[in-house]
């Protein structure tokens, strides 16, 4: 396949996927679990890819994602709450200090930029650390950010530890798909550029990369800032999805979930992260729901142990098994592509070609 046909195939697929989503939305009732999974899955796909950019492609083991999502979510919410509802949202802080509202896209990008600026500042000292020390330091920063945002004195801006709500949200499932899709496409372009190759070189061998003339500090900071930018945007999207946010949501457990998504998808695979985030959300929110039902009978056999929370235990066991026995994840460090699938079929059957599942990328 030439690169032109490949692009056309991809564009066609994406268009077909969006059309399919649009049609599904007309058919299936909007409260369905299916859309919950799709919306949340798209948002987590973006943050997982942004984390993969750091952990998988640059080799920087950072656990600060929840903190940057918090920054994005808060920036988005603070900037878009309509002026007339500010008094009810900031009821303990006399309506807050910000008395304007920005359009949604601007606020989303602002969220990304705030996260990126913080990442730049944090990165100055922290990126000098390596492997698990970097992990624990970024985790620490996420915790600090969470604590500071709940501080009373910042109440007029952040509403203290109270909920932020009544900002604009999205209705259609297409919205997170389009935004996350654009962002992921940008990350893919970055990974395929010279910068991306430099990142991979740093991941594989720092000393060799430096010897080849790659400025380590500069590239690490760049990867960190860009990853945080997209984490911020996904934080904004998450805020839209949740319809109300609170700093206490963004715990380190959230980072762990994102990390597990990245690991299950395959460290160093963008499509892997996307696929696994949908699977992860579908499993944790939807497919295993029946395990929470106390009165489940198979025939006349009352299945024991089932009660709310059991789903999460089963899910955690599955994840543990994946981590232990299937360490490379779904995709390893390879990418899902039509070309490979068509080649695979061509080799096997000789005639079958051009067939593959829908991926969004």
């Amino acid at each position: 396949m030439s690169s032109k046909t490949k692009t056309m195939w991809n564009v066609g697929l994406i268009a077909a996927l969006l059309l399919l989503l649009f049609l599904l939305e007309q058919v299936i009732p909007s409260g369905s679990m299916f859309f919950t999974v799709l919306k949340k899955g798209a948002i987590y796909a973006l943050v997982a890819v942004s984390m993969n950019l750091l952990n998988g492609f640059t080799g920087l083991f950072s656990l600060g994602q929840a903190g940057f999502m918090l920054l994005g979510a808060y920036t988005y919410a603070i900037l878009t709450i309509p002026v007339e509802s500010r008094n009810s949202v900031y009821q303990y802080f006399d309506g807050g200090v910000i008395q304007f509202a920005l359009p949604v896209p601007v606020a989303l990008i602002a969220g990304g930029i705030v996260a990126a600026v913080f990442a730049y500042l944090i990165g100055l000292p922290v990126l000098r650390l390596k492997s698990d020390y970097l992990a624990i330091a970024t985790l620490g920063f996420a915790e600090i950010i969470r604590a500071v945002f709940q501080w009373d004195k910042l109440g007029p801006v952040t509403n203290g530890s109270n909920l932020l709500r009544s900002y604009p949200t999205f209705k259609s499932v297409l919205y997170p798909f389009v935004v996350a899709g654009i962002c992921i496409a940008l990350i893919v372009l970055l990974i395929n550029s010279t910068y991306g190759r430099a990142f991979k070189a740093i991941r594989d061998d720092e000393i060799a990369a430096e010897a080849m003339g790659i400025n380590l500090a500069h590239h690490k900071r760049l990867a960190f800032v860009i990853s945080s930018f997209f984490a911020g945007i996904s934080g904004g999207l998450l805020a839209m999805y949740q319809t109300s946010i609170q700093a206490s949501m963004f715990k380190s457990a959230m980072t762990y979930e994102i990390l597990l998504i990245v690991v299950i998808g395959g460290i160093g695979s963008v499509t892997g992260s996307c696929i696994s985030s949908f699977l992860f959300i579908a499993c944790s929110e939807w497919w295993l729901r029946f395990l929470d039902n106390e009165n489940l009978y198979i025939g006349s056999f009352h299945v024991p142990l089932l009660r709310p929370g059991f789903r999460k235990v089963v899910f955690a066991v599955i994840i543990m098994l994946m981590v232990l026995f299937y360490r490379r994840g779904i995709m390893g460090d390879k990418e899902f592509s039509l070309e490979k699938i068509s080649n695979f079929f061509r080799r096997k059957r000789g005639k079958k070609e051009g067939k593959g599942g829908a991926s969004h990328e």
Binding site: V126, I136, I144, A316
Partner: protein, 294 residues
């Protein structure tokens, strides 16, 4: 004098919390010393120890429940190592760390399932939760016992490491993992012993900790766990006296910050301290010099 009277409760609480962090921190620092692994599940083992007491005291007297809890916690630590870390011994370091995060996720979800997400009331343990007067400040007896018990246990541990055969094996394994294997040290039993000691101390720590903070929730272990890790880094990871001193410093500072009315920042302070330490003196207060650490 009045300043002293005002701040004495905080200072006492700080010393007490510091002792509890110290008991957890030893588990981190010993495991890190040998496996170079941040055992993210350690805080959750601490939490499970708390839940074990909550549930076992409902069916048996407390003097049976506590030894049973200690045995089960040790067993849990042992099993976690055997099941989740041993198969990954030759894998990259990141895989083991991810496995540790997975174990933590599993234990938290298991606790969520068992407790139903409600905070469980830790039973009052006779004698140590009695109220006493110290220099005019009212506090629980546990506050005074914790530092003493911590120091006794640490002294015993140091003796164990310095004068017994298994202690020598541990020191050898933390110096050079591969060479010690070549010298005939059964590395798996050394690592298991490390986890057993760590879990034992975490069990004692949880006993003391929950006597003061009586609500046991599935995520209660995360924060003390992270702080104990910070203490271990602060003292120089791999060094047991370092971890203890680091834990006391963090416990005291944290409570003094609370006493000043900056409760929001008591957690933030710990992490800020971590970052400063990592940047200024990455080997910590008593850490050995290592070139590949930071």
């Amino acid at each position: 004098m009045s300043w002293m009277e005002m701040n004495l409760p905080y200072l006492l609480a700080g010393i007490s919390v510091g002792g509890q962090y110290a008991l957890i921190a030893i588990g981190y620092t010993m495991v890190y010393g040998i496996l170079r692994l941040i055992n993210f599940a350690h805080g959750d083992i601490f939490m499970v120890a708390g839940l074990l007491v909550v549930y076992s005291t409902t069916i048996m007297p407390i003097y049976v429940a506590i030894p049973l809890m200690i045995v089960l916690t040790v067993l849990l630590g042992f099993v976690v190592e055997r099941v989740a870390y041993k198969p990954l011994r030759s894998a990259p370091r990141m895989s083991i760390m991810i496995s540790a995060i997975g174990v933590s996720y599993l234990l938290q979800n298991l606790a969520l399932y068992v407790t139903g997400g409600l905070s469980q009331q830790y039973p009052a343990i006779p004698w140590i939760s009695d109220t006493i007067q110290v220099f005019g400040a009212t506090t629980k007896r546990v506050t005074v016992i914790t530092p003493i018990l911590t120091i006794v246990l640490v002294a015993l541990l140091v003796l164990l490491i310095r004068y017994t055969k298994i202690g020598m094996a541990m020191r050898a394994a933390s110096k050079d993992f591969e060479t010690s294997q070549l010298m005939g040290i059964k590395i798996n039993s050394v690592i298991s012993t490390t986890f057993i000691i760590g879990s034992f101390l975490a069990a004692i720590g949880s006993l003391l900790f929950f006597t003061n903070y009586t609500g046991v929730t599935p995520t209660v272990g995360a924060m003390p766990g992270l702080k104990a890790f910070v203490a271990a880094v602060f003292g120089g990871i791999g060094s047991i006296p370092g971890a203890v001193i680091g834990a006391f410093i963090i416990g005291i500072c944290e409570n003094i910050i609370k006493g000043l009315g900056w409760t929001t920042f008591s957690d933030a302070f710990t992490f800020a301290l971590l970052i400063v330490i990592l940047l200024v003196k990455p080997t910590g207060l008593f850490g050995e010099k290592a070139t590949d650490k930071v």
